[in-house]
């Protein structure tokens, strides 16, 4: 009895344990299923993430600009002449005709300080320097001028930021004697640099006078300014605007009816009037004129709302002339004010109907046009970081924040020809960075894309014939024992790191091809011919010898032949160079053919990258040809076709989709390859299809510039865009290839 119960208990326990184990196993199975499912989906999502992350970074480039809701407050009294703002957007400044400078809080318009400029005589004219410097000045009734600068001191009392405005006299508190004849200065323009300054003015009687100042260091410290002033050739017409660039090299005197008098004052002792051009068609007048930042381009605004950019262009004879470079979408009313951004080539414009427009010059783009006031805007100021503006109208002062991160991007600035400042004509250029703020970045992806395609083209030119012919032979004619050697060799070829190919191309092949250029060219031509001759001769060998080598070993036989041809071509290189090219083929190319020769050129890239692409194309094409069902070939042979006819008419035709996909995948690899082009080209973004010139590709450009680009800047996002372009291009090539291959597989299995 007791043993019975014990047994029973034990069995029951076992059953329970079994049950528990079963449940545990089922839970484990379920857990594993979920975990693996989760893991698998996560990995696949991670892959998708790459695409979306690239897109996420690129996206802001194409976002339109936005204005935050603004506020309007009453403007300080007085006739306004200049409106400006400091970097933190806390303090605004308004200079008035009476020589009073008003500083106010932008938060509510409440005044901070009202500083009167010390004027020895009545002010009659006014002018401002480059906005970034904060320089402006008053022309006086006695022919003198006084120059001031608004500046902001930042202190942190009690850990809170305090910005206090200051008014300085950079040329000293003594007025500058601009007009020796002491006539009143009606119009004024001025620039102050480190140790030179210049003031130009139109006097009441219509003369144009120029005063140059040079800093004099005295041994006792301090030091004064050395003044020399002269009268310039009088401008044509009734001058309404006078502007001098920040380097004190050019001076523009402009009439209201659209005549621009262009003076070259780069040599202060010998100022010249270069030309007078008409900037506007008959019937409209210039209503606003301003420099773009950097002082090269003039912005011309008309009463008809038109906005145009002009700058001096140098022609072939080294002569400058003023050219209209581009126009922008017009504003509805007459343009009244411009405000160029401090660090970019963008600008703001306002008209007499209260419309505000934001533009970018390089991109030729209208970023935004919005009605912001009910009456005409007379003064416009932009924050130094271009993230806010101040506009003065009859409504009062309006302040509004701007979100405009990437105005320099447009379809034309990325892909089109752009007329950049100081260039003779519109061009495709990539030049992303430079040391100073006035630089106009050149973000044309065209030369890079061109370089990418050029490199890929030459690589494919070399690789496609070799790889496909090799694949045909290996799959169809080659003896199986040799195949077992060849396939791993090709796999090793595929595995060779591109950095090694690139380094050999740059450090060995490039100098080699330069020294033996005739030999390399001869080699490429002599190889096919030499092979044909060798094959022809082979027929005349005694049959006993030929029979020793079974079919399918031609490739092995040809190795010594090819080596011999190669050696011969290189050995003949220098004699040929002596006989035909006068001993220096590079000189001959330049002098006779007009072709310049870079050591690291497309020929070297084509050979090296071709080498990298051959195995990719080879393996896939070989797979496709080898996979052609054997009953097709056997049928063809049985009908009396020769092996070559069978190959050409049956095998290749059947396998052609596979060969196509092989070429596509090869192309994808050639387009994205980085290290080889980085090392085997000079990386200069030129647009020249010559085989003896270098190039810069999208991928190499990323590798060169990415580490230095500032996070979230336009440059950074454009590099991401280049990455995205590469990603999409290869994705298209590969998907196409993959779909074709899958179809082919289905076809083979149905045959």
């Amino acid at each position: 009895m007791s043993t019975d119960t014990k047994e029973h208990d034990a069995r029951l326990e076992r059953a329970f344990a079994n049950q528990a184990r079963k449940r545990w196993r089922r839970i484990k199975d379920l857990l594993a299923r979920n975990a693996i499912g989760f893991g698998g989906v996560a990995v696949i999502l991670a892959i998708v993430l790459i695409f979306f992350y690239l897109l996420l970074i690129v996206f802001p480039l194409f976002q339109p600009a936005k204005l935050e809701s603004g506020r309007t407050f009453t403007a300080p009294a007085g006739t306004p002449l200049l409106l400006a703002m400091e970097e933190q957007r806390e303090v605004g400044m308004l200079a008035t005709a009476g020589g009073e400078v008003e500083f106010f809080r932008i938060r509510d318009g409440s005044p901070i300080a009202r500083i009167a400029v010390e004027l020895p005589a009545t002010p009659t004219g006014f002018g401002a320097g480059e906005d970034r410097t904060g320089i402006f000045g008053y022309g006086l009734a006695n022919g003198q001028a006084i120059v001031v600068r608004h500046r902001y001191q930042v202190t942190f009392p009690n850990d809170k930021r305090l910005i206090s405005p200051v008014l300085e006299y950079p040329l000293g508190e003594e007025p500058v004697e601009v007009d020796p004849q002491s006539d009143a200065l009606r119009l004024l323009t001025l620039q102050v640099a480190e140790d030179t300054a210049a003031i130009a003015a139109i006097t009441d009687d219509g003369r144009l006078v120029l005063a140059n100042l040079e800093k004099q260091e005295s041994l006792l410290g301090g030091g004064g300014w050395n003044l020399s002033s002269r009268e310039l050739l009088p401008p044509q017409g009734d001058i309404a605007f006078l502007l001098m660039d920040k380097d004190q090299r050019e001076l523009y005197a402009v009439t209201r009816d659209g005549h621009i008098n262009y003076y070259d004052i780069s040599n202060p002792a010998d100022p010249k009037r270069v030309e007078t051009v008409r900037a506007l068609p008959e019937g409209s007048e210039i209503s606003a004129l301003h420099f773009l930042t950097g002082g090269i381009s003039l912005l011309v605004g008309g009463t008809d709302g038109s906005i145009a950019q002009w700058f001096p262009v140098r022609d072939d004879n080294n002569e400058y002339s003023l050219k209209r470079v581009r126009g922008f979408d017009p504003l509805p009313g007459a343009v009244q004010a411009f405000a160029p951004e401090y660090n970019r080539k963008g600008f703001l414009a306002a008209d007499d109907q209260g419309n505000l427009g934001i533009y970018h010059s390089t991109a030729g783009r209208t970023v935004l046009v919005r009605k912001v006031a009910n009456s005409g805007i007379s003064q416009l100021g932009v924050a130094p970081r271009a993230d806010a503006y101040l506009a003065l109208s009859a409504d009062g002062l309006r302040f509004q924040r701007i979100h405009n991160e990437h105005p320099e991007i447009s379809w034309s600035s990325l892909w089109g020809k752009v007329w950049y400042e100081s260039h003779a004509e519109p061009e495709y250029l990539w030049q992303s960075s430079s040391a100073d703020n006035d630089f106009e970045p050149k973000f044309s992806l065209t030369p890079l894309t061109f370089g990418t395609l050029k490199a890929a083209f030459f690589a494919m030119l070399f690789a496609v014939p070799l790889a496909i012919m090799g694949a045909i032979y290996t799959a169809y004619f080659m003896a199986p024992p040799m195949r077992q050697v060849v396939k791993p060799v090709i796999e090793i070829m595929e595995a060779l790191p591109t950095v090694i190919l690139g380094f050999l191309a740059g450090l060995w092949l490039a100098p080699f091809a330069e020294v033996y250029l005739p030999g390399v060219v001869m080699l490429l031509l002599a190889l096919p011919l030499g092979v044909l001759v060798a094959a022809w001769l082979w027929r005349f060998l005694p049959g006993s010898l030929r029979r020793h080598i079974p079919d399918g070993w031609q490739a092995a036989l040809l190795i010594p032949v090819l080596c011999l041809i190669g050696w011969g071509a290189i050995a003949l290189s220098q004699p040929v160079e002596l006989w035909f090219f006068g001993g220096d083929i590079r000189k001959w190319l330049t002098a006779e053919m007009g072709i310049s020769y870079d050591q690291r050129n497309a020929l070297v890239v084509g050979l090296a990258m071709g080498f990298a692409v051959i195995p990719t194309i080879f393996s896939i094409a070989e797979d496709a040809i080898f996979g052609v069902p054997s009953h097709l070939t056997q049928g063809s042979l049985a009908l009396g076709a020769t092996p070559w006819q069978t190959l050409a008419r049956v095998v290749i035709l059947t396998a052609s989709p596979g060969i196509f996909s092989a070429v596509m995948i090869g192309l994808g690899r050639a387009v994205g390859e980085t290290m080889i082009v980085l090392m085997a080209t000079g990386n200069t973004p030129v647009m020249d299809f010559s085989i003896f010139q270098g190039m810069r590709t999208l991928s190499a450009n990323i590798a060169v510039e990415m580490p230095e680009s500032e996070v979230a800047s336009t440059h950074y996002r454009i590099l991401f865009l280049a990455g995205l372009v590469l990603f999409m291009a290869t994705f298209v090539f590969n998907t196409l290839a993959e779909v074709v291959r899958q179809r082919l597989r289905v076809k083979y299995s149905s045959l």
Binding site: Y473, L496, G502, L504, A535, R539, L562
Partner: protein
Amino acid sequence: MSSIGKWFRDGEPLIWLNAAAVSASIIMVVGLLGLIAVRGLAHFWPAPLIQANYSENGSEPVRIVGEITASETVPRQRLIDAGVRLNTDTPLVERHLIKIGNRDAYGFDFRWVIDEGLSQRAEPAELMKVERREWGNLYGYLREVRESGTRVANGAEAWKEFQDRIARASDLFSRIRAIEKDDIGAINYAIEKLRLQQRGLEIDGKDTRQNLAELDQQRKVLDAEYAVLRDQLATLNTQINRDSFTAEIMDGREIEVPLAKVVRAIRPNTMSRSQKLRHYFVKVWEFVADDPREANTEGGIFPAIFGTVMMVIVMSIFVTPFGVVAAVYLREYARQGMLTRIIRIAVNNLAGVPSIVYGVFGLGFFVYFLGGNLDRLFYPEALPAPTFGSPGILWSSLTLALLTLPVVIVATEEGLSRIPKSIREGSLALGATKIETLWRTVLPMASPAMMTGLILAIARAAGEVAPLMLVGVVKLAPSLPLDGNAPFLHLERKFMHLGFHIYDVGFQSPNVEAARPLVYATALLLVLVIVFLNLAAIAIRNRLREKYRALEGS
């Protein structure tokens, strides 16, 4: 003539042309490997040193001393166009690139000479080559060995004395370096950690007087240790600077060099073959096991090897489980249909996406986004200096893991698909759950396939450079990512990499000519590793195929 026509019609010549394409590919691969091997291996062999009188364009002959590193024949016209003045009229001119060394004395250490201008060429026995820690090699004749500026040996017995004293200086040098790198490095690391601790306390508002005093206490201990080491260093430095030697160089000047700057000195012209062989292996060992010198153009590449291996290991840790899980999911769990087909196409596609795109992604997502947020959360005390928010070995490994993920997935999937259905069905029929079937039978059988995938992934990662340039390699890393300072593994550090080393030394180095042999040697090492890995993968795969063929047959 008709026989030629028939020959062409039969397609015979085209078959030969096709064959030639294969031959050309094979010649290129073998030739490339041969070129790298020859150039890479020859570098360590002590070349004979020559002395000759050289006159260019009929000028007064000058003495030239050095080793010939390259010779070539060029058309005379080219040299004239390049601005070289010649007084011969042979159409082809032979010229040599001679490494004359002594960069400190001449300003440059290579020189092209025209063969015809050389006369009285000789290989004098006393000519020596001194490898230095600065300014490259010195070539010349030993004159005196000095101790504290006074002569201790000259003439015939100087060489022996010279060698003995070099050995002593080298010994001192390694002791100095051990102190500087290991001991002082550890102290600096600890002091930096204390600084971060203090900053962390300040951020948390726990910078009480007691806590700060504690930190100060620790700092004082470290400072005291540092003072001891500094004294030791000072004595060692005076000891190492005791000796010097003078040598006559090719323009007849006599220059004095402290022995502290000397790595080794040899007289290759008097060395026997076995001595040369020994020297060869010493140099090879130095190459593999030593740190680089002179802006990477001399010395070894140990940090690059270490960095590559470490990066690959970390990458394997990431890529293997994820790749296998994804493959198992795709093959064993997901319902086969349109979706899995699309996924497979996408995975295959990813294998074709340019590696630089992965680099761009890695930099943006891993470094700036993930790293930046990690810093803000866990390392606020170090800010604004980034910890994980700048390129480093962890991000490099992750980027390459993503890059090689398709390789592992494809290989594993292929392995899984080759396992006969009968095996799974048998296991399930015996009552095993799905995971048990997978875990006990399928995965073990597929493990060689995973191995193949992993090996291929490693081979690809070891040779990939472009993405790494964005996410973590540097030309010279001050410290290895693995060292004796807790927590020992520093995944946030930047590292050196063989592939990048080739690029950097070959193309960014100030003295490319001097670095060239080293680049070839580095390339050879990298190629050997990759060829070996690939051959291993091929062998495993072939064995595997045989095995399954047997399985399917039964």
